[in-house]
């Protein structure tokens, strides 16, 4: 017996293509939205605890700071190196250095007099940069910025020293 062979009808094919088209449109729209969000918004570094740790440490140290020395132990005050002279909770003066020069790494060095007391290293970091922000009153804040790989500003925080008078 010869089995009768038949393919899909035109209507069946049209319905199938239409359903497939709907899925393609939905997936295309979602993909475009994802791409749009990725292009428009900077990476959310603040959800990374280590990055938050750097911001919190700089905030605390700047709050305790008396002044910003131009250089210390071979380090120079630059947009990639922040030098802060602080009076700690124990009443002793310290010099804190934030070294942002290494890609993906932040180092915090704490000196008591000329002795290195402690080192803290944070890894998987964005590229930080240090600047300043001056008020009309003459108070100078430390401005900590980080950009993502697309050059978008992801972190921009200003920290003022506590008044010590």
């Amino acid at each position: 017996m010869v089995r009768r062979q038949r393919g899909f009808t035109l209507v069946e094919m049209l319905v199938t293509v239409a359903i497939f088209g709907v899925f393609v449109v939905i997936i295309g729209t979602l993909t475009y939205n994802m791409y749009y969000v990725q292009q428009k918004w900077p990476i959310n570094y603040m959800s990374h605890p280590e990055v938050g740790g750097v911001v919190a440490r700089v905030r605390r140290d700047v709050l305790d700071s008396l002044h910003y020395p131009g250089e210390f132990e071979g380090f120079l005050q630059t947009p990639k190196t922040l030098i802060i002279y602080v009076v700690g909770q124990d009443g002793y003066a310290k010099t804190i250095i934030y070294d942002f020069r290494r890609t993906g790494e932040v180092r915090r060095l704490e000196y008591k007099s000329k002795e290195l007391e402690s080192t803290w290293i944070g890894r998987a970091m964005p590229t930080f940069e240090v600047g300043d922000f001056e008020l009309d009153s003459g108070q100078v804040a430390v401005r900590l910025m980080a950009k993502d790989t697309g050059g978008k500003v992801a972190i921009d925080q200003i920290f003022f020293p506590r008044s010590h008078s």
Binding site: N33, K152, S165
Partner: protein
């Protein structure tokens, strides 16, 4: 010869309905997730700008609070992805105590062209008190 039969129409319809529910829910969940992620990114940028501005307004002398421009004084370039956006600062004396002023910092964004208004906003109020010119520290 073994009889051959396919699925009945009700079986196919029920299967399609279940499939449609699963697919629709998944797509809706995905879209909502995208929306939450975007809103979270917006909120983090906005609050960084507000924190910076609060630092400035905390240090302006009490006597000159009223004479300040009613917009942010800090660099708001971090808010660029929110364009168009607006910033606003309101200084209001306390009704109970004239030596206390309420400084409210507001960021408005997500502009609605039809209604000519912003859909989202965040604000922070800073209470300033007159310490007579000396600082409290």
């Amino acid at each position: 010869m073994r009889p051959q039969r396919g699925f009945s129409l009700p079986e196919v319809l029920v299967a399609l309905v279940i499939l449609a529910i699963v697919i629709t829910t998944t797509i809706a969940m995905f879209a909502r997730r995208q929306q939450y992620l975007r809103e979270s990114s917006e909120t983090i940028l906005v609050w960084q700008a507000i924190w910076n501005e609060a630092e400035i307004w905390r240090r302006i002398s009490f006597g000159s609070l009223d004479g300040q421009p009613n917009r942010f004084q800090s660099d708001t370039s971090i808010l660029t992805p929110l364009n168009p956006f607006a910033t606003k600062v309101e200084v209001a004396a306390s009704a109970d105590d004239p030596s206390v002023k309420n400084v409210t910092l507001t960021v408005l964004w997500d502009y609605d062209e039809q209604n000519k208004s912003y859909r989202r906003n965040a604000h922070l109020s800073v209470l300033r008190s007159d310490t007579g010119g000396s600082n409290l520290w």
